[in-house]
């Protein structure tokens, strides 16, 4: 990893709600995440993009302390708010970690159809998270708050809906309930893992809007995982591009999307074609990134993207250093790339 000036880090940590340093995750002989470092400030919305299998969800689960059995995390994960003495969450026991989950930070998952308990009334599932963390004094108070929360996520007739079971709700409605659960205790950090991927296109926009409104109202930090670059552009201010378990590029959404430096980012943006159908008409098929994402643990040494990169040279066989692209209040991991022959303004 690159050596960073100490003062920059101190400044970055001061306003950071979440700071992740050198996070690595792996099974016994298979490394899956390498030295992932980033911070998210109060009220900041950061996108995490990349193809399936690049390590996005794993990053989120590691932060939440919900890694599947058999995976170990190392590094440093700190949450500024309501953390046990601002300790590294990776070293905190399950009991204390459970106190942070659902309170200091919470998560919305990809699949709303199966995310709720089918045998429990929706309202009880929302109330549970408040009673568990004692943010409401009584069952009755929690029940009243549930109706407010369901109303805030634009669910019709919330008092009646609170008494229904999940199977009586549509996918979009269920995801609103999951969002209400995640926001119930006003978390400092909300992690969303592809929250709209499973929803109808018509519902996606409204749910995204609710997510942003909910986060803004609480001035919470958000980590938003998606493979939809259009969604990142509308929801997030800053973006992290992930490939092969590493962050290969980071920066403000506008800059990164308009002028990507890492060849992988360039490929992703090319394959997404954010100009829309109008610009595409009459043109050749969308460009794609050649090859496919290698299976976990089979990424090459050095630059993880070099086996699919048209510009790869011998220099790519050693791990490219992080190149800061400009000053950023969240520190130099927030704006830069790791590529020795970057696209755009960089040197070849």
């Amino acid at each position: 990893m690159t050596a960073r000036p100490v003062e920059t880090e101190a400044v970055a940590d001061e306003h950071a709600v979440l700071s992740v340093d050198n996070l690595s995750v792996g099974a016994r002989h298979t490394p899956l995440l390498h030295d992932v470092s980033f911070t998210i400030g109060r009220g900041e919305r950061v996108g995490l993009i990349g193809e399936s299998g690049s390590g996005k969800s794993l990053t989120a689960l590691a932060v939440m302390g919900l890694l599947p059995e058999g995976l170990q995390a190392s590094g440093d994960v700190r949450l500024s708010a309501r953390t046990p003495a601002r300790r590294n969450l990776l070293g905190v026991g399950e009991r204390e970690m459970a106190r942070v989950r659902g309170d200091g930070m919470s998560m919305v998952f990809q699949e709303p159809m199966t995310a709720l308990n089918p045998t429990m009334r929706v309202g009880d599932q929302v109330a549970e998270v408040m009673l568990l963390h004692r943010t409401q004094p009584s069952r009755a108070a929690a029940r009243r708050r549930v109706v407010e929360l369901l109303e805030k996520v634009d669910l019709p007739d919330p008092a009646h809906l609170a008494r229904s079971y999940p199977h009586e709700l549509s996918g979009g409605q269920r995801q609103r309930v999951v969002l209400a659960i995640a926001l119930a205790n006003d978390p400092a950090l909300l992690i969303c893992d592809e929250p709209t991927t499973a929803l109808d296109v018509t519902v996606q926009a409204t749910v995204l809007d609710l997510v942003v409104r909910g986060v803004e109202a609480r001035h919470a930090a958000m980590l938003f995982i998606t493979h939809d670059l259009g969604v990142v552009a509308t929801v997030c201010e800053r973006v992290l591009v992930m490939y092969g378990g590493r962050i290969v590029e980071a920066g403000p959404v506008q800059e990164v999307f308009a002028d990507p430096r890492h060849r992988y980012t360039q490929g992703l943006i090319g394959a997404s074609d954010l100009t829309g159908a109008e610009g595409r008409r009459g043109r050749a098929a969308l460009p794609t990134i050649p090859g496919s994402v290698p299976p976990a643990g089979r990424f090459p040494e050095g630059c993880v993207f070099r086996t699919r990169c048209a510009h790869a040279t011998q220099r790519c066989e050693t791990l490219p250093p992080w190149v800061p692209r400009g000053p950023h209040p969240a520190g130099e991991t927030a704006y830069g790339h790791a590529c020795v022959h970057p696209a755009g303004g960089g040197t070849t």
Binding site: M107, T119, E128, V129, V178
Partner: protein, 316 residues
């Protein structure tokens, strides 16, 4: 919910009615005249004719059937051909004994299987979970009567802690009753517990993989809390299914254990009546067993509705 309940109830009534026809018809289809069969080949033609007339066996089959069903509905299935003893009280006596056995065995099996099954699922990657799982696999393969014989040879013969068999009425000698109940109940329940524990294990394993359990963890529930509050109810549906099947098997399979431990249960009555060729008694006992099994199925169906709200509203 109420509509679904009434629907199940109607299914129960219809199945019982259908079962009564089948049981009755099956007994009449058997070759030979029931009166002749009961009295034996040496009885005089006159005695057989008299018995036939006395029991109305010369009437049309439909009339006989209706007469029999009427008797069942008033809990009076008639008297035996030869001894003229009333069948109803005999069944009541024997059923009581068998119910003690079956219910105690099922409760014990459940008490053993639930914690063990859950433990096996939660610890399925650890050595203790694997060992328990292997043990339960062995338990499944042991027949109840073998367990019974082993238990008798150890606890009754070698250690002399309990009698090797027999039966006393609980009200007359509570201690003796419990002593005689212990071994048959344990031998019945060990095997059932092993089978049940394996089903509990797989149901809990399935539920542990569910997304909503991850949601529960993300809310701040610890793993065990999440399993207890959100997992177990969802794991209950397959377990209740197996429980119903096991209860039915126990009720009918208890006959073997009743023989091993010389217990005067319903199964023994059935075997004795078959030996004595008492058709009416056999018919009544079979009907009681069939109704019991159908009723167990009905209770299982109703439990589904209680456990899983998705089954309540789904239109047929």
């Amino acid at each position: 919910m109420l509509l679904r309940f009434l629907h199940r109830l109607m299914v129960l009534v219809a199945s019982v009615a259908a079962a009564s026809v089948v049981v009755f018809a099956f007994m009449r289809v058997l070759p030979g005249d029931p009166a002749r069969v009961a009295l034996g080949i040496n009885a005089s033609e006159q005695a057989v004719a008299q018995l036939r007339e006395q029991f109305g066996l010369d009437r049309p089959v439909l009339v006989q059937y209706l007469d029999w069903v009427g008797g069942l509905l008033t809990l009076d299935p008639g008297i035996e051909f030869v001894s003229k003893a009333a069948i109803g009280p005999q069944i009541a006596d024997r059923l009581q004994v068998t119910l003690w056995l079956v219910v105690c065995a099922m409760v014990l099996a459940l008490v053993l299987a639930l914690p063990v099954g859950i433990w096996m699922a939660v610890r399925h990657r650890h050595w203790d979970g694997v060992v328990l799982s292997a043990l339960s696999q062995v338990g499944v393969a042991v027949p109840a009567f073998l367990a019974g014989i082993v238990l008798i040879s150890v606890f009754a013969v070698r250690l002399g802690w309990v009698p090797s068999g027999g039966w006393v009425v609980p009200a007359e000698d509570p201690v003796g009753f419990l002593q005689r109940l212990a071994l048959p109940v344990v031998s019945l329940s060990l095997v059932q517990a092993a089978v049940l524990a394996r089903y509990v294990r797989s149901a809990v394993l399935d539920v542990l993989r569910e997304d909503f359990l991850r949601t529960a963890r993300a809310k701040g529930l610890r793993p065990v809390q999440a399993l207890v509050r959100h997992g177990l109810r969802n794991a209950a549906v397959p377990v209740v299914t197996v429980l119903g099947l096991q209860l039915a098997t126990l009720l009918i399979g208890a006959v073997v254990i009743e023989r091993v431990f010389v217990i005067p249960g319903l199964g023994s009555l059935l075997l004795d009546s078959v030996a004595k060729r008492e058709l009416l008694t056999v018919q009544a006992v079979v009907m009681v067993l069939v109704v019991a099994v159908l009723f167990i199925n009905f209770v299982v169906d109703v439990l589904y509705l209680v456990i899983d709200p998705r089954l309540r509203t789904a239109p047929r």
